[in-house]
């Protein structure tokens, strides 16, 4: 059973919209003057140096960080008016890493993704279990069934978290650095999976990536954040102009190969350096 995007064809308005957003942790301002509109079915990568505010942007979108100014709306509703369950049905987040205090099997962790859907008292319905199985299959971790998630490698754990978000079957999928611990092959597989979710199911993807090459190759739209502001927003060619790379990342643009077409090898570049 494939997850269905809710309202994919019905709403031409942006599924995700931030206007004039300013956010801070205590006194430290992390985002200023953010204007961002994402249409349903888009695939957007958020890139930028460390500490630029990428993860904070995700938190604002998910409603776990309340902005000091500006408005955030998710599927047409202002986020502050939605309760957490309503947000969870609209947006699934793949976190960077989690810690497990107790032994939990892979399928149990993936099953957590069905929390917003399952019966509050009786738990998972057969449809939920099927969704879990489908998500595991789709992410390709069937071989890990029955294993204690705490015993997996970091890369395997990341895939489990990805499967959990897939099982959540929300129309918007946000990912915070989902490829950090993955080897090259799995990085590509993950990107292809995201593409599949986007093209086949119409899921809107918003991914924070540190790898410029991956971002440029797999995402038609890049949003470049630096110092809490959106510095560029557009196609990889526009965003990854030479002078921009020099200004924002402080490295020789020769380090980053821009893709010219299919079949070119991707180099991860390690481009996320602090200025």
């Amino acid at each position: 059973m494939t997850p269905q995007a809710i309202g994919h064809d019905a709403i031409p308005a942006p599924i995700l919209e931030l206007s004039g957003v300013e956010a801070a942790y205590r006194e430290r301002v992390v985002l200023r003057g953010i204007d961002l509109a994402v249409a349903a079915g888009e695939r957007v990568a958020v890139i930028g140096p460390n500490g630029a505010g990428k993860s904070s942007l995700l938190r604002v979108v998910a409603g776990t960080l309340r902005p000091r100014a500006g408005r955030v709306s998710l599927a047409g509703e202002p986020v502050e008016r939605l309760d957490r369950m309503a947000i969870a049905r609209r947006l699934a987040v793949v976190p960077q890493a989690v810690a497990l205090p107790f032994a939990a099997r892979v399928e149990e962790v993936v099953g957590l993704g069905r929390l917003p859907h399952e019966d509050p008292f009786r738990g998972q319905r057969p449809s939920d279990r099927a969704a879990v199985a489908a998500a595991i299959e789709r992410v390709g971790i069937g071989g890990l069934l029955g294993r204690d998630a705490r015993e997996l490698s970091l890369g395997e754990r990341q895939l489990v978290l990805l499967a959990m978000a897939v099982a959540q079957a929300a129309p918007v999928l946000a990912l915070d650095e989902p490829t950090v611990h993955l080897d090259l092959r799995h990085q590509v597989d993950t990107m292809e999976l995201l593409g599949d979710l986007n093209e086949r199911d119409g899921t809107t993807i918003l991914a924070v990536l540190h790898d410029l090459g991956l971002a440029a190759h797999f995402f038609p739209r890049l949003v470049l954040i630096a110092d809490g502001r959106i510095v560029a927003d557009g196609s990889p060619e526009d965003v990854l102009a030479d002078d921009r790379i020099r200004d924002v990342f402080g490295v020789d643009p020769g380090f980053v190969h821009r893709p010219a077409g299919p079949g070119r090898s991707i180099v991860g570049g390690g481009a996320a350096l602090l200025r």
Binding site: R26, A62, G63, T64, D83, R84, M85, I87, A88, R89, L91, A92, V93, P95, A97, V98, A99, L100, P101, F102, A103, A104, R105, E108, V109, L112, G113, L115, P116, E118, P120, F121, G123, G140, I141, G142, G143, L144, L145, G146, R147, D148, A149, R150, E151, E156, L159, Q168, D189, E192, L193
Partner: protein, 360 residues
Amino acid sequence: MATRSETLGMPRAGTGWLEGARSRPGALVVGGLVALVVVLVLGVGLGSVTIAPADTLAILAHRLLGLEVGGTWTPAAETIVMELRLPRVLSAMAVGLGLAVAGATYQGLLRNPLADPYVLGTASGAALGAAIGVILPIRIVLLEFGLVQILAFVGALLAVTAVYRFSRTGALAPLTSLLLTGYAVGSLLAAGLAMTMYLSGANLRQIFFYLLGGFEGSSWLQLGLTTPIILIATAAILVRARTLNGFLLGEEAAAHLGIDVRRERVILLGLASLITAAAVSISGLIGFVGLVVPHVVRLVVGPNARRVLPLSALIGASLLAAADLVARLAGGIPVGVVTAIIGAPFFLILLRRARTGYEL
């Protein structure tokens, strides 16, 4: 992607009966209920005075069900069974149930396998309240609850409220802050307890007996007042099993999965603390039940709170009632000693089997 499965390792084969048990939660519940009934019958039938089993059953049938099954028994036997043993066994079950559920809740909420119902200051607060109740020269008896028990209940709740309030300030993550504040407040209250014990003079022994915990003073009225609190709060936690599951990966992940973290944290903490306070007010401080029972249950059925909570309740009730029976038959040793003797080795075994998967 079809070839990926092979590269990511082989699935672990389930180990025999453990797997079988895990996949049949219904059978486990039935097993738990059977254990409960067995412990109840043994607890009421055995004691320092020998009463023929037939007489015991006859007394129970007569008094509880109104059935006349014949047989003769002395009024003393009837008093022993109905006034001494039955309320005691039921009290032990209520407290065991409550402590196990509270322990499971705290562990799930604080995401700490070492958490038990006393970790946020409830034990120290109850102990200090009880000690003050012992040394105050006032005699209040409210519905058979003496000053000691009332102050123990109040002390437990005040302590955990204080811990919660103090932990909200500061920049630490809420869970870390709760645990550390719990430790600090608990230490402060323990110092107060030491001072009170020093000043207590001849009443020291009474305080000491409270600290050890026990069911010697069980009565129907006390049971009737605390059991509803324990059961209703337990039910309220049970319906929140989904929330507890959500907390498994952390508070942020829980929020993303749809849990209103701040509200649920307060509610779950409050319910678990209420259960703990009610339990310690009639039983004193009995350790290990709240810590070990949820772990053992998780070993068999996994971390799903929908299974862990009810099974912990059943196992906790049976375990504490059985421990109380052993304590009685061994000559009246404190029940806290029995639970420690059972619990400590279990805990060490758990530690040996624990994986180091808890890293950030």
